[in-house]
Point group: C2
Chain length 203, copies 2
């Protein structure tokens, strides 16, 4: 598997999707990992695009079968990343991008350390995050308050990430993201390094 | 100190200087760390450009004064990196580039872990390295043989580096180097992260 993994974390409202979209010409083809969840789709969400929506029974069977790279329970719902599409994309040499939380980053890094580069993406300040969450008005006040409390905890974990991208000016943040993504592609895992050493000495 | 360090290692003949030169427009301003040595200048080498050439006595005084970030003895001569110019460049927010060996990389990383990104640059194979060393004919056969034996040992340490750049096609290697250098600039050290968290929560 000579692909690579780029984990993105950061508060809802940080602008991760916008940045990926802006940078897509500079980073070339990638595989965006879609999470599986047992929560109900919200208005406008599509199965296989935003999430794979499955039943609790199906999710728990997959847990038993060891099908998840990582999973967690948030507010009573399961969220997880299926291992199979990730492995297939890595085997094809692709860059696999994850948008998961700080806890998900820990689990993916623990299991696939030498494939992973990670970046935490955040608005420049807590007050700016609040402003953006209220401005987009897709969530009610309780949800926004929960997102803000989560963000105040998650920001403390930025030292666990390889890079921190401050999304103040979107063009600048997108350019930084492209640099990180292209560096992530260059990362070589142990299997590749062993092959390289063997080839190098014999040729 | 909000600068960053990029350590480059790899066999003599890998094309490190050529790659840096090719990539310089893409990586912006940087500070190239010049080593200090007690060996005699070779034909064409300039003090303050290739090395700082000093006496054994001066070098040993600097060791006692703790003036070196790293130093080593190679074939009876001292080689080292003075800490002061590195700290000054880091305080100015610069990218500091080191061209040092595998052992030097270990020492710099141990002392300044959260500033360091590293890349091992190598020709695509042992035979290609031999070909290049003989073609440039700046060394006699004994020196070339010693360089080759060193390279056979150093290649085994590539797993210690963040990136490995195969210098097969110089344009491609230079582009990869630029990506690595720009990613190195984005790396934030613990001091910067602590400031960021503090600022973020208070604003």
């Amino acid at each position: 598997m000579n692909g690579a993994i780029l984990v993105l974390s950061g508060p809802s409202g940080a602008g991760k999707s916008t940045i990926i979209h802006h940078a897509s010409e500079q980073i070339g083809a990638y595989h965006f990992s879609i999470s599986t969840t047992t929560r109900s789709p919200r208005a406008g969400e599509q199965d296989g695009v935003d999430y794979y929506f499955v039943s609790r029974e199906a999710f728990e069977e997959d847990i038993k079968a060891g099908a998840f790279l990582e999973y967690a329970t948030v507010h009573g719902n399961y969220y997880g990343t299926s291992l199979k599409p990730v492995k297939e994309a890595l085997a094809q040499g692709k860059l696999v991008i994850f948008d998961i939380d700080v806890q998900g980053h820990r689990l993916v890094r623990a299991k696939m350390r030498d494939y992973v580069t990670s970046a935490f993406i955040t608005p420049p300040s807590l007050s700016e995050l609040e402003k953006r969450l209220y401005a987009r008005s897709t969530d009610n006040n309780d949800v926004i308050q929960k997102r803000i409390e989560n963000a105040k905890e998650e920001i403390k974990a930025i030292g666990e990430f390889d890079f921190v991208i401050i999304n103040d000016v979107v063009e600048k943040a997108s350019h930084q993201f492209a640099t990180v993504a292209n560096a992530a592609r260059l990362k070589q895992n142990q299997e590749e390094l062993n092959q390289l050493i063997h080839y190098w000495l014999e040729n």
